[in-house]
Assembly symmetry: C2
Homo-oligomer: 285 residues x 2
C-alpha cells in the first residue's frame, strides 16, 4: 500500500510493506495550494511514479473543495468502517479518505480533514474514552469512544497568533526570536484571570508600552495566552493526548503541566499508520 | 475656551462660551496619523486660526508618542484635579490632557487616552459607583467611584473584528452588508457556550461552509460573538453605561439586552464637556 498525507502546504508519501512498516518516505513542499487544478494526477506521478504499482490511499486537504476532488465529510461517530465506506476513488486504484464533521449541542458544525486519519493511527494508544489534541493553525480536539471519533472541536489558536502578529497593533510588540519560557508561563497564567481573551491580548501591547517585555518575549507571552485559553476550555480532570510534531507537542505539554493538567504525547507520525489501517478495511485494496 | 478632541483618525474642535455651551464645531479627517511630525501647530492654525484667541485644551492621541507631544499617563485613581495637574503645555495657551493608566491585581497595565476626558464629561449622569463602557477599536471599560476613575480595562473587540475580516480565513465568510439582527443575536447567544472564543470564532467558517449563513450574516454573527464575549466579562448585575456614537451604542445596548444586562446610553458628545470641566480646574486658563 502507498499512504499519502497531502495537506495544504506539504505532500508526504509512504511506501508500506504488508505489515504496515514504512519502507520508504518522500516529502515535498507541494501542498494542494501549489498544485494547479486538474494537475493532481501529474504531480502524483512525478512524486512517486517510480514506485511499484500498489493501491494508493490519500488523506488531508487533497479531499477538500480546493483539492483533487471533494470527499464529503462523514458525520460523527466515525471509525475505520464509516470512513472506508466513503472513500472517493479519483482514478483506478487511487482513493481519498473523507474528512469528519460534527454538530454540537448548539447546532454549530465543526470539521476536520486529515486529522481523522492521524487519530486512527494512534487508536492503540488510547483507552476506551479519550481526548486527543492535535495543535496547529487550527487545533483539533477529538473525542474518541470505543474506537470511533464522536466529537470534534476546533480552536483558531495558530491562525489567531499569526494574524495578530502580522496585521494587528500588537505586531509591533511581537518579534521573532527564541522562545522565552518565563513570558510563555506568564501568558498561561494570565489566561486564567478574569476579563477574557479580548482583554488579555491587549496586555501584550500595554506590557510592551511600559517596558515589561520586549519583542521576542511578547511573542511567547501571546502564545502562552492563546494556548492557555485553548487548554482551559478542556475538561479539567481529563488526560490530554497530544499529537503533534515534537516542538509543538512539547509546547502544549509544557502548557498543560503549568495548568496542572495531565498530558501524554503520542507519536506524531500517525498518518501512515492510520492510512494502513484504513486500507485493510476494504477488500478492493 | 476652545476644546479639541484630536484622535488617531479625526480632529474635532469646539468653540465654547463661558458656560460651556458649544458656539461652533469643526470637524476634519486630520487625525494624528495624517499629520507630519513637527507640523501639529500648523494644522491647528489652519483649522481654527480664524477663531478668537482663547485658551486651547486638547485630549486624545495628540498626547501620545505619535502625537504633538507625549503627555505621560496619570495613574488611577484620577479625576479632574489629578488630570489638570498634569496638563502638558505645547505652546503658550495650548495644553494637552494626559491619558490615564491603571495596573490590575495581576500587575498588568492598561491605558486610555481621550476616553478619560469623555468620562469626565458624563460625570453628572453617573452615580457614585458606575461602570462606563466606551466601545470602539479598543473598547474601554472605566470604573468611576466618587468622581474619579479607579480602573480601566480594554477589550480588543473592534480591532479583532477588523483583522479577522481582512486577514484571516474567516474573511471569505464575511462580507460588507446590512446588519443581520438574527445572526447578531445568534453570535451573542453562542458566546455563552463552552469552548471559549478561539473555538467559537471557528464557527463563522463552519457555518458558512455548511451554508447556515451567508456573507453579511457572517459579519453580524462574528460581531455578536465578539461583543458577547466582551459584555460577559462585565459583572453580571451591574448597570452598564454606554458612551459611543448612536449606531455603535445601539449595537451594544441591544447586545446587553439580549444578555439580560441593564444598560443606559450616555450622550456621545462628551469630550467638549469634559474639556470644559478640566479647563475650569486651573486658574491659568
Amino acid at each position: 500500500v502507498i499512504a499519502i498525507d497531502w495537506g495544504t502546504s506539504s505532500f508526504r508519501a509512504y511506501r508500506l510493506d504488508r505489515g504496515g512498516r514504512i519502507l520508504e518516505k518522500r516529502e515535498a513542499a507541494q501542498g494542494i495550494l501549489s498544485v494547479a487544478p486538474g494537475t493532481f494526477g501529474e504531480v502524483l506521478e512525478q512524486q512517486i511514479g517510480d514506485w511499484d504499482d500498489a493501491p494508493i490511499l490519500m488523506s488531508g486537504m487533497v479531499g477538500s473543495r480546493q483539492g483533487w476532488r471533494e470527499a464529503p465529510y462523514v458525520q460523527c461517530p466515525a471509525g475505520l468502517r464509516e470512513l472506508s465506506q466513503h472513500f472517493v476513488e479519483v482514478r483506478r486504484g487511487v482513493w481519498i479518505v473523507p474528512g469528519v464533521s460534527y454538530v454540537d449541542e448548539s447546532g454549530v458544525p465543526d470539521v476536520m480533514r486529515g486529522e481523522e486519519t492521524q487519530v486512527l493511527g494512534v487508536l492503540d494508544e488510547l483507552g476506551d474514552d479519550a481526548l486527543v489534541c492535535l495543535p496547529g493553525t487550527h487545533s483539533k480536539w477529538v473525542r474518541v469512544r470505543g474506537g470511533r471519533m464522536t466529537a470534534v472541536r476546533t480552536h483558531f489558536t495558530g491562525e489567531m497568533f499569526a494574524v495578530l502578529k502580522a496585521h494587528s497593533l500588537l505586531g509591533r510588540m511581537i518579534e521573532e526570536g527564541p522562545a522565552d519560557e518565563r513570558a510563555f508561563a506568564e501568558g498561561i497564567d494570565r489566561s486564567g484571570d478574569e476579563g477574557g481573551l479580548l482583554h488579555h491580548i491587549f496586555g501584550v501591547r500595554t506590557r510592551g508600552l511600559f517596558g515589561v517585555l520586549g519583542g521576542a518575549q511578547g511573542a511567547s507571552y501571546l502564545s502562552g495566552l492563546l494556548i492557555g485559553h485553548e487548554l482551559r476550555a478542556a475538561p479539567e480532570r481529563e488526560q490530554i493526548h497530544i499529537l503533534a510534531a515534537p516542538a509543538l507537542a512539547e509546547r502544549y505539554a509544557c502548557a498543560a503541566s503549568l495548568l496542572g493538567r495531565r498530558s501524554t504525547r503520542l507519536d506524531s507520525e500517525a498518518a501512515p499508520r492510520g492510512l494502513f489501517r484504513l486500507a485493510r478495511e476494504i477488500d478492493e485494496l
